[in-house]
């Protein structure tokens, strides 16, 4: 298995495996529910029961009803009693109302009591999370299916429920829905209300105004028209005051009682109004969650999860069928089909609930039919057919058919029992499968990530050895067969371990469900474990020579320890929200260290030079050290620090200081447009300069590359002018179509890359040499022309040399193109970042050079240099990521950049642009690093080796960061901030991993392309 360790792209493969593991983790962490998105229709109602015909629409009809749904936020079960709400208690007592216990949705996030409501940050967090709660509650009520927090949290910017809901079916049947209260309902179901007035719970300290805003409409809306018919069909009232009191002062607060009395008055008002209508009214009073005595909610204690649902019907014949007492347990999802039925609309597409028993019709036929509708509706939602409740459902259907055919009461009774049983089991099944974290998958993925991290560190350490000894052919070389056998055995062992762990934990995870699709993933995981095991084993055996690591100096240690510690700092939420602070702090420290070191070196140099003759023998060495930078490095370095200081003010990011004005705001103010344009112009032109400078490393035959680059830049400027970001003396350009310009730009870039490859392939031809045996080729036309005079065939040009040149020029083309593309995508004030990345990269590479900083020379300098360089580029990438105004919250993703040069929405391209824009800093830094590698190496072999090392380091860093973060996310999965802070960061990490894979793959492609070109060239002859 040594060959694996030595393989050049092992890091990349490991990273890809890690990506798989992260995906598994995300799958477990975000229990996304599958919403069919089906819209229910009246024609969906079954017209045949086991072959016997029945007029579905007619039987289903509930008669005319008006439904009032009154939601009192935070109404817990013991509040709905005579003690707190006298009128409601009275109704319950004389059986004109029914009370049920419902269990609130799975509490995955705790909403603690607010300790200091004035604190801005806490208020904002609280508000975000409480909105999640309400979203989930309202969508559970209206769609009849439970969505998870993740569904809501990941619903970027479009919180509206896309699937079916009671409101949609009601609207499609021409019913009028009216909404007063919390604006969650308006956000979730826009356009479905005939009338509405939303209040926000923005001020948690306010608990009178929010309720008054709801109640003030009642008198008007409740008064019926001339036929004594109400002017609406469905009314939703959402009272927030009680919950606010609960969050502020707890359930024992003296303010609770008057509030409940006020609510009771509202109930009374509704009830008396409804009695006067000519139509039957149904009033449903419920809470969305309870509250703890100490305040807050979200735990799993009975006081928090048990909420009452009170059903009142203004029909004189209505008597609550249940004995007085706590009442049977129902689910919150039961409201949806009940309301839909009362409004004579079909149950919404994704609903998984049942009808509230008190409202069930007395007519046996209708009763059974309703049960059948719901059961078959549930059965259609992908339930497995081999389960007991499905069989029960089938049996019930048979009995129902028999009842319809013969009218036997006994059959009806049996059918009813069977239906009830199967419905019970069904809704249990449907809620259970979707509710919780898939802990097994999460834990397993984390373990997998750790093992992969270990494997990656083994490969990295192996690759960092100074001299990789050729695998000596010893007598102990195991044969291929035995290797294969060992592999198979380990694979089987790991599979067995996995299976056993599945059974021991008795998990309900779908990972252990052994369905065909999942068993592929299952065995893939076992395979990954096996591979990682072998890599680690070989790594531990082979990694011996660690001399290179002794050459690290203080700055390298700072880089390594900083990177390691950074991942662990995420255990504090503030450090996630203000991650940029960590990076700025690190970056400052690094610059300070380098500054001090450079000062030391230069002072030594100067003092020795002046003090003169006694130390002449040391002078040449010093001269060598200084020659690469010169004294001017010091002022340059100070300027660089100043530049970074300026860039840092460009965008305020994070969470706490986000509101502070920054330079970007100042620049974007209309009166400062001139400075903004200057920024834009300077940024673009400096980038052009850098690109032209980079062109040196390409095959700039006939200056084609220079011309193409300048053309591309002109395209960018035209685009800026056309999109009104830049003033111009030529007004014509303003009218040009931006999309054509951008397309032209792409074309130029593609031509550039193709041209380079073709030139290389072509030069092989123009040499007219015999490939394969002869060595030939050049990169620069100048050399070529010289060569022309001499005998070309005799020049021993090396194929490897050409390859190196090609790789070098391809990397530079990549860097140039990337810079140009990013400039195109960036906001005008951020354009200046792009050249800054490059300048920083160049400067820091110079200053981190071990030759310059260390006192003595050592053997492993090269390796230590590589470690320092790659880590510092990671840092540069992250620092610029935050300079640019990104943060770890989804709000800072710039959606605008996704649509540059696109006429219509196409998800792939928009996502690609947005990703590239957000990760511009890391991408540019990475590209600059690889260019540097290609520039700095003198032979193809060494190039490959350094690429190998850097790839491993990058992969290791990524896997390590993700693995640590997964542990953080698992630890804090019940934290208040989990959906607003931890999960977005998780997504950011995921995207970063994807991009790292992509970046490393690009490097692999460059090497591959180089080999391919050589092959093509050799093919030509």
């Amino acid at each position: 298995m040594l060959s694996w360790l030595q393989h050049r792209w092992t890091g990349l493969w490991l990273l890809m495996l890690a990506l798989g593991a992260v995906t598994l983790f995300l799958y477990g962490f975000f229990p996304l529910k599958y919403h069919s998105g089906k819209f229910a229709h009246m024609d969906d109602l079954p017209n045949f029961i086991d072959g016997i015909g029945i007029d579905g629409q007619e039987v289903y009809n509930a008669g005319e009803h008006t439904v009032v749904l009154m939601v009192i936020d935070g109404l817990r079960y013991d509040f709905a009693t005579e003690e707190y709400m006298p009128f409601l208690g009275e109704l319950l007592k004389n059986k004109s109302a029914c009370i049920y216990v419902s269990v609130a949705e799975p509490p995955t996030v705790t909403m603690p009591r607010i300790k200091s409501p004035e604190r801005k940050k806490e208020k904002a967090q609280w508000r975000r999370t409480i909105n999640f709660w309400r979203d989930i509650f309202a969508s559970a009520m209206m769609t009849g299916s439970i969505s998870t927090f993740a569904d809501v949290a990941l619903n970027f910017g479009a919180p509206a429920v896309r699937g079916d809901s009671v409101l949609r079916v009601a609207a499609s049947r021409g019913r009028h829905s009216v909404m007063y209260g919390d604006d969650t309902w308006l956000r979730l179901f826009p356009g479905l209300w005939a009338e509405h007035d939303g209040t926000t719970s923005f001020y948690v300290t306010d608990y009178t105004e929010v309720d008054y805003n709801v109640t003030r409409h009642l008198d008007r809306i409740l008064s019926p028209d001339e036929d004594m018919k109400p002017i609406f069909d469905f009314l939703v009232l959402h009272y927030l005051g009680l919950d606010h009191i609960g969050h502020l002062e707890g359930a024992r607060s003296p303010k609770i009682k008057p509030k409940l009395i006020e609510m009771d008055e509202v109930v009374k008002k509704l009830y008396t109004a409804m009695r006067q209508w000519s139509r039957t009214g149904v009033l449903i009073v419920c809470g969305d969650h309870g509250m703890r005595d100490a305040g807050g909610h979200g735990g799993a204690s009975p006081a928090e999860v048990l909420v009452p649902i009170v059903v009142v019907k203004t029909d004189d014949g209505f008597r609550c069928p249940h004995p007085s007492g706590p009442g049977p347990t129902v689910g919150q999802v039961d409201i949806a089909p009940t309301v839909a039925w009362l409004l004579r609309a079909p149950p919404p597409g994704d609903s998984a609930g049942r009808l509230l028993p008190a409202l069930m019709p007395a007519d046996v036929r209708q009763h059974l039919y309703l049960l059948h509708v719901l059961a078959s509706h549930n059965a259609k939602q992908g339930l497995p057919t081999d389960t007991e409740f499905y069989k029960q459902f089938k049996r019930a259907e048979k009995q129902f058919a028999q009842f319809l055919a013969t009218g036997q009461q006994s059959a009806a009774k049996i059918a009813k029992e069977f239906y009830d049983e199967s419905l019970d089991a069904m809704s249990k099944y449907l809620t259970e499968t979707t509710a919780e974290f898939d802990l097994f998958a999460i834990n397993f993925a984390t373990v997998l990530l750790y093992i992969l991290a270990a494997a990656a560190s083994c490969t990295t350490l192996y690759s960092l050895q100074t001299e990789i000894r050729k695998p000596s052919i010893t007598h102990h070389q195991p044969s291929k067969v035995s290797l294969l056998l060992a592999f198979a055995i380990m694979f089987i062992i790991f599979s067995i371990i996995l299976v056993i762990s599945c059974f021991i934990t008795e998990t309900k995870s779908s990972f252990c469900s052994f369905s065909p699709l999942w068993s592929i993933a299952f065995f893939a995981a076992a395979l990954v474990l096996t591979i990682a095991y072998f890599v680690i084993k070989t790594g531990v055996e082979k990694v011996k020579d660690m001399t290179a690591l002794k050459e690290l100096n203080a700055i390298d240690y700072l880089l390594i320890l900083g990177t390691l510690f950074h991942s662990w700092s995420f255990f504090g939420t503030s450090f996630i929200e203000e991650e940029h602070m960590t990076w700025y702090f690190y970056w400052n420290t690094l610059m300070f260290f380098v500054l001090v070191r450079t000062v030391v070196v230069i002072v030594t140099y100067l003092s020795k030079r002046w003090s003169g003759a006694t130390e002449t023998q040391e002078k040449p060495e010093l001269e060598v050290r200084m020659s690469s930078v010169g004294i001017s490095i010091l002022p340059q370095w100070v300027l660089l620090i100043a530049l970074h200081r300026y860039l840092r003010t460009m965008n305020q990011t994070g969470d706490r200081w986000l509101f502070l004005p920054d330079t970007a705001d100042w620049l974007n103010a209309p009166e400062n447009a001139f400075y903004l344009q200057v920024h834009l112009l300077i940024g673009t032109l400096v980038t052009l300069g850098i690109c032209l400078w980079n062109v040196r490393y390409m095959n700039n035959y006939m200056y084609v590359h220079s011309v193409l680059t300048i053309l591309a830049t002109i395209c960018i400027l035209c685009y800026r002018i056309a999109s009104d970001a830049l003033e111009t003396p030529f007004p014509d350009i303003k009218t040009w179509d931006t999309i054509t310009i951008v397309n032209l730009f792409w074309a130029i870039l593609i031509i550039q890359a193709l041209y380079e490859i073709i030139i290389y392939a072509g030069i092989f031809k123009s040499c007219g040499c015999d490939p394969g045996t002869k060595k030939f080729g050049y990169s620069k036309p100048k050399v070529k022309s010289e060569d022309y005079y001499y005998e070309p065939a005799e020049e021993p040009w090396n194929v490897d040399n050409v390859k190196l040149n090609l790789a070098r020029s391809l990397s530079h083309i990549m860097l140039n193109d990337l810079m140009l593309i990013v400039i195109l995508l960036m906001r005008p004030h951020n354009v200046i970042m792009v050249p800054s990345v490059f300048v920083t990269s160049v400067m820091i590479s110079k200053c981190l050079d071990h030759k310059l900083l260390d006192l003595r020379a050592g053997k492993g300098k090269e390796v230590a240099d590589l470690i320092g360089q790659s880590l510092v580029h990671v840092w540069i990438g992250m620092v610029f990521f935050f300079y640019q105004g990104n943060s770890n919250s989804l709000a800072s993703v710039d959606l605008g950049s996704g649509y540059v040069g696109l006429r219509e929405y196409s998800p792939g391209r928009v996502a690609l642009r947005m990703g590239l824009h957000a990760y511009a800093g890391p991408a540019l830094a990475g590209a600059a690093l690889y260019c540097r590698l290609a520039r700095g190496c003198d032979t193809w072999q060494r190039y490959l080796q350094s690429v190998w090392r850097v790839c491993n380091i990058y992969a290791l860093h990524r896997i390590y960061a993700v693995a640590v973060y997964c542990v953080v996310a698992v630890t804090f999965r019940h934290h208040l901030f989990v959906w607003s802070v931890f999960s977005p960061k998780l997504l950011y990490d995921f995207v970063a991993t994807v991009f790292t894979v992509q970046a490393l793959a690009t490097i692999a492609q460059i090497v591959l392309l180089t080999n391919l070109t050589r092959w093509v060239a050799s093919l030509r002859f």
Binding site: V596, T604, R645, R656
Partner: protein, 136 residues
């Protein structure tokens, strides 16, 4: 100071005070003791203090003070919302704390050294402390 991230449009006074404090704690005693030029050389590690305990102490003081001020900045992003988390205060505290620790270390070392004359076992600790200082 401004280069490393201090706000430079407002709160001049605080920043100035911090600079003054740092100068007072680091450079001033050294300059007073050794003169301007050699102080600079000592601080940047060009010249080595050869067995001069007082200068060694002063240099260590300077280094640890800067380190302390530096580390003090760590707590600023935390969201405890205490009043002392405002901009320069943690750095003041860090600087003074660093200074204090450095002094304590020096005294400890000197007392240990004198004690080590009597009890040779303590030499081990002294050498550890010495190493710690040198690596700075």
């Amino acid at each position: 100071m401004i280069l490393f991230g201090a706000p430079f449009l407002d709160s001049h006074e605080e920043t100035l005070m911090l600079s003054a404090l740092l100068t007072l704690l680091t450079v001033f005693p050294l300059v007073a003791h050794a003169g301007v030029e050699s102080a600079m050389q000592l601080l940047f590690g060009v010249k080595h203090f050869s067995r001069n305990t007082i200068i060694e102490m002063l240099v260590n003081n300077a280094l640890l003070t800067v380190c302390g001020a530096w580390l003090g900045a760590v707590v600023i992003p935390l969201d405890w919302n205490t009043p002392w988390q405002k901009w320069p205060i943690p750095c003041y505290l860090g600087a003074i704390g660093g200074h204090l620790i450095s002094n304590v270390l020096t005294i400890l070392k000197i007392s240990l050294m004198s004690a080590a004359d009597k009890y040779p076992i303590l030499n081990f600790i002294v050498s550890v402390l010495n190493k710690f200082n040198l690596s700075k």
